[in-house]
Amino acid sequence: MAILIDERSRVLVQGITGREGALHAARMRAAGTDLVAGVSPGKGGQAVEGAPVYDAVAPAVAATGADVAVLFVPARFARDAMLEAADAGIRLVVCVTEGIPVRDMAEVTAHLSRRGTILVGPNGPGLITPRRCSAGIMPADVFAPGAVGLVSRSGTLTYEVVHELTQAGIGQSTVVGMGGDPIHGVGFLECLELFEADDETEAVVLIGEIGGNDEERAAEFVREHVSKPVVAYIAGFGAPPGKRMGHAGAIVEGSSGTAAEKKTALEAAGIPVASAPADVVPLLQARLERRPSP
């Protein structure tokens, strides 16, 4: 099954005639994605990567049955593009764009949740179900199909951990980059719930960082609702308070949102926390071996 996307997903790219849009449309297709359409206002009638380009999302959905939209749209137009995708009936919106105003994201998440549209991002690499579908900018070469689900707040750190997993022969079911903004779509909780219910996923890796309390809430959720093994990695122990560490959402505010606090909460819920990205591998191996065989 995997989660959120698989080989049946029909992917549409908003902003497909732009440099980034065209580049990543080609990469997604090479990674096994069923790329069915592109959208660029005023550019309808062209074709990119064999996919027909439409002026708007609604006619593209009507003609192709697209159910996933991946956005490569500048920050100031991203709000409108996400609303358009949701109103056209898209099931899953993936937004890679960085630098979208907080007010725009508050409005977008409110509208999408009323529509029942799922959002991944913004300010993240999207998601991938290895060899079957990539919706975003993750480097497919690093991934291998398998049974570990991964959900992360950081792009490069995700690739780093996945690289270690793949090298160790541990494949992935689905890998989700939730993005580094304070207001975003699916997070640890939603993904944990999906991974718990997914037949193909046997264990879950959480990659967190400073800021907010998503990790603490995830720890609580795992304690109550997750039977599969979960391990974690947290970045930002050395971050000073009040400074944004690259990601808009990566900030220690007052005394809350620190890495140490998150580590404590996760460990208290029985989730081992790796001290370096590479250490996720032995932690995961130990947890998988400890499981009783069916």
Binding site: S154, A239, G246
Partner: protein, 397 residues
């Protein structure tokens, strides 16, 4: 971007909120002149972008011109939580009947704004939250519907103002408070704020509702919609951070001596943690983002090395979309042209990493070491920083 009190109050005044007559002063003479115009007594307040200035002695009530001069001199010489004080706000003093707390803040958990009110104002609100959580009214505001009338009524009810109390023109204080709540919401929304806090919001003995302080944070990502505030942002940034931002880098100065640069915020944070775990200390957080742009690498090195206190440099790249061989060529180009006289450790992993390592090896740059992995890179950088300064490897002075 955090605004100073006086700037926040000018936004408040523009939104129809009542603030007291005040003047900004950069010297004793200016402060005394301001007090003369406003009339004594006045309050002299340090203008700093941090909390806790009251406890630090940065707010003084002055009854005479002599007191104004002395208070201004003292405050301008202060450093409050690491922030120097370049100016003070000289403000009329008033007779306070009640101190309230009112704020609207962006909440991650609510995925939108939350209105926070307390009838106990003038104190640290986090302390109120700990001591007496029931004293706080927290109301999520729907970003699409906006603030509803019933939510405003809830706040007014929680304030429990004297129903007889009315302002000079006869408007009931309760009605004035409702007006403040609505105006603050409009300001929050229209200025793309992520925080608008009034602490204390005071009810005066003459029945007026006045903002005695302001704490306003504007969303950096939305500054393109606010040209006036954008100019302030560009002018107010610390020099190194401003230079880094112009070059498209995310940069934060830290206290240590190992310069760090990498691609990706999480990766760089993780590298800083691993340096600390190995007994070292990072000098900065610097994310050059995706792509193999030599000019970004050059700008990053320039910013990181500009303090002269860096004794080793660690470059950590994980090539996802980015090709490590292109990053390596960018590094070679920059390092062969720039005078970097501290040990440089480079770690390349992922896309075209082997090719990248070969490019670095072929360049034979003195002082540059290619590490086999993240752990080795951290170990080498920490060792390099701790090594005694040799004539060829360390910058002089």
């Amino acid at each position: 971007m955090d605004l100073l009190e006086h700037k926040g109050k000018s936004l408040f005044a523009g939104a129809g909120l009542k603030v007291l007559p005040a003047r900004l002063a950069f010297s004793q003479a200016e402060a005394q002149a301001a007090a003369g115009e406003l009339g004594l007594p006045v309050v002299v307040k340090a203008q700093v972008k941090t909390g806790g200035r009251g406890k630090a002695g940065g707010i003084r009530l002055c009854a005479t011109e002599g007191e104004v001069a002395a208070a201004t001199a003292d405050i301008l010489a202060m450093t409050i939580r690491g922030h120097g004080v370049s100016c003070v706000l000289v403000e009329q003093a008033i007779a306070i009947a009640r101190e309230l707390y009112l704020a609207i803040s962006s909440s991650r958990a609510q995925r939108g704004p939350v209105l926070i009110f307390s009838a106990e104002g003038g104190v640290d609100i986090e302390e109120v939250a700990r001591r007496n959580p029931a004293a706080l009214v927290r109301t999520p505001v729907d970003p699409l519907l906006g603030l509803c009338d019933y939510q405003v009524r809830d706040v007014v009810a929680a304030a429990a103002l004297d129903p007889e109390l009315a302002g000079p023109d006869g408007t009931p204080a309760k009605q004035l408070l409702a007006g403040v709540v609505r105006a603050l919401w409009r300001l929050y929304r229209d200025s793309d704020a992520t925080l608008c806090e009034i602490n204390p919001l005071v009810v005066t003995t003459s029945g007026e509702v006045v903002c005695l302080d302001s704490k306003v944070t504007i969303d950096d990502n939305a500054l393109y919609r606010h040209a006036d505030l954008k100019a302030e942002f560009d002018a107010g940034a610390e020099d190194r951070e401003a230079r880094a931002r112009q070059a498209g880098l995310a940069f934060v100065a830290l206290d240590g001596d190992i310069g760090v640069l990498g691609n990706g915020a999480g990766l760089v944070m993780s590298t800083i943690d691993q340096i600390a775990a190995a007994g070292g200390s990072a000098a900065d957080f610097c994310d050059i983002g995706g792509g193999a742009r030599a000019e970004a690498v050059a700008a990053a090195l320039d910013v990181i090395l500009s303090t002269g206190t860096v004794s080793a440099l660690l470059v950590s790249i994980f090539g996802g979309i980015t090709r490590c061989d292109e990053v390596a060529r960018g590094l070679v180009q920059v390092l062969s042209q720039t005078c970097v006289d501290v040990p440089v450790v480079v770690r390349l992993e992922g896309n075209a990493a082997a090719g990248g390592r070969a490019v670095l090896a072929d360049a034979r740059l003195p002082g540059l070491t290619v590490a086999a992995g993240a752990a080795e890179a951290v170990r080498l950088a920490v060792a390099g920083a701790a090594a005694p300064a040799g004539p060829d490897t360390r910058r002089e002075g």
